[in-house]
């Protein structure tokens, strides 16, 4: 009956031993969300992308401030208004030793355009922007053509991982990548093991074109609970964690055993007013729906902005980690407007403006937001509600899980038809990440008038509409010359934000906590990359 044999036990121990015995440089990273697929064309979830980025690369890479730098392409330039030439890096080898060539680029783009059956969100839409076409000129040259002048080809290609034609043709999407069979890239690390729920490990690619990386092995361990993730760091189970709880940040910064790395992220957190003639969640003091909707008056929106104490939110809720904002892209990004400073806290000014607009008695509003999407989201929402109530706008909070929130924010009720979405909320807290490192699509997405056909304003969930902004946004999307485009974008942002199209609160500031003796170069795009961690003495 009993199966317990000392020999087996010893064997089991022996199997475990080699891992501990070798003096390899191993980096264990505790991450908040687990990667669900290693197929780089499967989803757009950042948890997936950050692990994939260790294995797969793109033609255009992004530096830590999300600005485009050479990746698998060494250079690119527009040949004319609609054609871009990309010169590929020579001598790059796939992990199985085959040469990387233009055929792989063409194959990857073809794979995306053909559609990947079952993929919940492939990055194929990046190819549809500007109706891109591609052509191999020779083994190391690719031409991309667009249907009109299109300035951000490089930024778009920075979102499109390249897979190997000889490996990925005919494989089952996602499944064969997770098994490792097709997880063959050109990146600094080789796939080692994917153990769902437990860990994903990659090992050093000794032949990487980008030079030597510090770690022999990198292990990603998903630890969803904030407190557990921090505990795992404290007791040494992991070396580095993302998203340390903000409440523990001051203490971690003091502690000589740990280091915290910090950078302003590309994610703007803001309050999105609804612009419908009548908004269901806004009522006067007697509970009657207000006509017209007071949020259509820019003085009311400005008053709401002045009533928010952004410093208090930063210091008391965010553990000091937020960057109060009026800009819509963070400093260092293409499109940042110098001198567009966050509004000061001015409750008297707010009340004066409300009185001037004819709402001196205030009104009632319900604000909505997610409670599991952004850092401390529900607490920020509550703070904003209190601050607004203080200037006479009696504010109620309705926070909900993101899986419900975003459906209601974007489409409103379930029955509305695609293309005829009616966003539901009168005032919602949401966020926008400028993943491309430049403001063209942030302006187009959040400030332009909603237009399902052109894709304009696809993130404009309040249905803000301003002809002056629209004209500039459309022009920017067709202006190749960077300087001219920068000027147009900055004008559009200034006009939109001085009109309080929405009310910015802050840029999230991302933190990582690690053992002392590690150095991490944080990224604005929230990814945790082992290439950017090294040991220092």
């Amino acid at each position: 009956m009993t199966v317990w044999k000392p020999g087996l036990f010893a064997a089991a121990l022996a199997m475990a031993a080699p891992l501990a015995a070798t003096a390899q440089e191993v980096l264990t990273i505790g991450v908040r969300s687990e990667a669900s697929s290693l197929d780089p064309h499967w989803t757009q979830l950042s948890a997936d992308l950050q692990v994939q980025e260790h294995i797969f690369e793109k033609l255009v890479a992004l530096d830590s401030a999300s600005q485009p730098i050479p990746g698998l392409a060494v250079s690119w330039e527009p040949l004319d208004e609609t054609t871009w030439e990309f010169k590929l890096r020579e001598g790059v080898k796939w992990h199985d030793g085959e040469d990387f060539t233009a055929d792989d680029v063409v194959f990857s783009f073809d794979r995306l355009r053909a559609g990947i059956s079952g993929a919940p969100a492939s990055p194929a839409f990046q190819l549809e922007k500007g109706r891109k076409m591609w052509e191999k000129i020779d083994d190391y040259t690719v031409h991309i053509t667009t249907d009109g002048p299109y300035p951000t080809v490089a930024e778009d290609l920075a979102m499109l991982p390249i897979v190997a034609e000889h490996v990925a043709s005919g494989v089952t999407a996602s499944v064969d990548f997770n098994s490792g069979q097709a997880a063959i890239g050109t990146g600094p690390f080789l796939f080692e093991e994917y153990s769902p729920g437990s860990s994903i490990s990659v090992v050093k690619n000794p032949n990487w074109w980008g030079g030597d990386v510090h770690w022999d092995q990198v292990v990603f361990r998903p630890i969803t609970q904030d407190a557990s993730r921090l505990a795992a760091l404290r007791n040494g189970d992991v070396d580095l964690i993302d998203y340390p709880p903000t409440i523990d940040l001051p203490q971690l910064r003091e502690d000589p055993d740990f280091t915290v790395s910090t950078i302003a992220a590309d994610r703007l957190i803001y309050m999105q007013p609804g612009y419908k003639h009548v908004e269901p969640f806004i009522t006067d003091k007697d509970g009657n729906v207000m006509v017209p909707n007071p949020l259509r008056d820019w003085r009311v929106r400005k008053a709401l902005s002045l009533a928010i104490n952004r410093e208090a939110i930063r210091d008391r809720i965010m553990g000091g980690a937020s960057l109060p904002a009026k800009n819509i892209v963070p400093p260092g990004f293409f499109g940042y407007v110098d001198g567009l400073e966050a509004d000061p806290y001015d409750p008297e000014g707010a009340q004066a403006l409300l009185a001037e607009a004819g709402y001196g008695d205030g009104f009632n509003i319900t604000i909505h937001g997610p409670n599991d999407r952004y850092i401390n989201d529900a607490r920020i929402l509550e703070a904003v509600a209190q601050m607004w109530s203080r200037v006479g706008i009696i504010t109620e909070v309705d926070a909900m899980p993101r899986n419900i929130f975003f459906s209601r924010l974007i489409r409103g009720d379930e029955l509305s038809m695609p293309g005829f979405d009616v966003p539901e909320f009168s005032m919602a807290m949401t966020g926008w990440g400028t993943v491309a490192g430049e403001a063209t699509y942030t302006v187009s997405g959040t400030l332009e008038t909603y237009n399902a056909a052109t894709g304009g304003g696809n993130g404009n969930f309040g249905r803000y509409s301003n002809a002056e902004v629209d004209a500039r946004s459309v022009l920017a999307k067709r202006t190749i010359d960077p300087e001219a485009r920068l000027a147009i974008l900055q004008e559009a942002i200034t006009i939109g934000m001085e009109d309080y199209a929405y009310i910015p609160i802050h840029f999230q500031v991302n933190n990582w906590a690690m053992k002392a003796g590690l150095e991490h170069q944080p990224r604005t795009n929230e990814r945790t990359l082992a290439m950017e961690v090294k040991r220092v003495e």
Partner: protein, 325 residues
């Protein structure tokens, strides 16, 4: 016996059908997974493409019929996020949860039964009161709090225990489990103990109550008068009689522990099905949620049946065919 089992299976089928409907339609009215997956730059054309890719463009009843059709062939659909058959994912993760639940059950019984018996034998003693106090705490403190405190004390402060994850596993007799390695047991101890607390508290209280009742029963008095040794009275005559309610409750509780070890699994990052369910709900991975719930219903039905059969073994008065004895 056969008739009883047949009846039970028919009932189970009905339950399954009703549950799949409830679960399927319930999950499909909550939120919209498209907006979770889509990048913020994804415009309407791109959103529509995702909707078609995920099969959400078809009317819901059509989706349901497809689902049922596939289910009859043993296919519960592919997970949105992983792109892998949902059943495959469930079975991949299930051993870790079973292991945790089984370890918790063993701890609950090994610790709970003796403590309960002691408390039942000497209800007025200070240590019995201590035991009952402990069982109150086991019931009333939230599991996540206990788990976190244990991590703080034993992992962070004392450094004795690993804070998270499952340890090394080894394969014995074709079963891969962390029971067979020291590292595995080391990792298992804290989460299993945390998970066992509620069951343990229940065992203690049920045992004590049973003891109080059975000790004064005529047959015990009779056994004592017969001169049977106290040890034998306790371990055979008393034990057999107090086990019945314990088996009932633990049978149901065990199902709950397997199905919803969610909290413990997420605190200790245990790679089990509970954690998978939470992750799936977070991104509205509908096929995975539905598949998992259908699986749980199936499991409960089986467990119920097992408990009923076990009854008849433990208690000769219970007859499964329903005829009076």
């Amino acid at each position: 016996m056969t008739e009883f089992i047949l009846k039970r299976v028919l009932q189970a089928l009905l339950v399954l059908i009703v549950m799949t409907m409830l679960v399927f339609f319930g999950v499909n009215v909550v939120g919209n997974p498209v907006y979770i997956f889509a990048s913020s730059e994804c415009d309407q054309a791109c959103l529509n493409k995702i909707i078609v890719d995920l099969g959400l463009d078809r009317p819901i009843w059509e989706q349901y019929l497809t689902f049922v059709g596939n289910m009859l062939q043993g296919d519960l659909g592919n997970s949105f996020t992983h792109g892998v058959p949902a059943l495959h994912l469930i079975f991949e993760r299930l051993p870790a949860t079973l292991e945790l639940a089984f370890a918790a059950l063993v701890i609950a019984l090994v610790v709970g039964l003796p403590l309960g018996m002691v408390a039942g034998l000497r209800p007025e003693a200070w240590y019995s009161k201590g035991i009952m106090g402990f069982s109150m705490i086991g019931f009333s403190l939230p599991v996540f709090w206990i788990g976190l405190i244990m991590i703080l004390v034993f992992s962070v402060q004392l450094g004795w225990m690993p804070a998270i994850g499952r340890g090394d596993t080894a394969v014995v007799l074709g079963i891969e489990s962390s029971f067979f390695t020291l590292d595995g047991l080391h990792h298992l101890l804290m989460p299993a103990f945390t998970l066992s607390l509620i069951m343990m508290a229940m065992v203690i209280r049920l045992t004590r109550a049973g003891m109080r009742e059975v000790l004064f029963a005529d047959y015990i008095k009779f056994a004592r008068a017969n001169g049977i040794r106290e040890r034998r009275i306790l371990s055979v005559h008393v034990m057999k009689n107090i086990l019945i309610p314990i088996v009932t409750v633990l049978g149901m509780e065990f199902g709950g522990v397997i199905a919803f070890a969610v909290v413990v699994e997420s605190i200790f990052s245990w790679p089990g099905v509970g954690k998978m369910l939470i992750d799936a709900i977070g991104v509205l991975d509908r096929p995975l949620i539905v598949a998992y719930l259908v699986f749980v219903v199936f499991m409960f039905v089986i467990l119920n049946l097992a408990v009923d059969i076990l009854y008849s073994v433990l208690d000769p008065r219970v007859r499964l065919d329903g005829r009076p004895s």
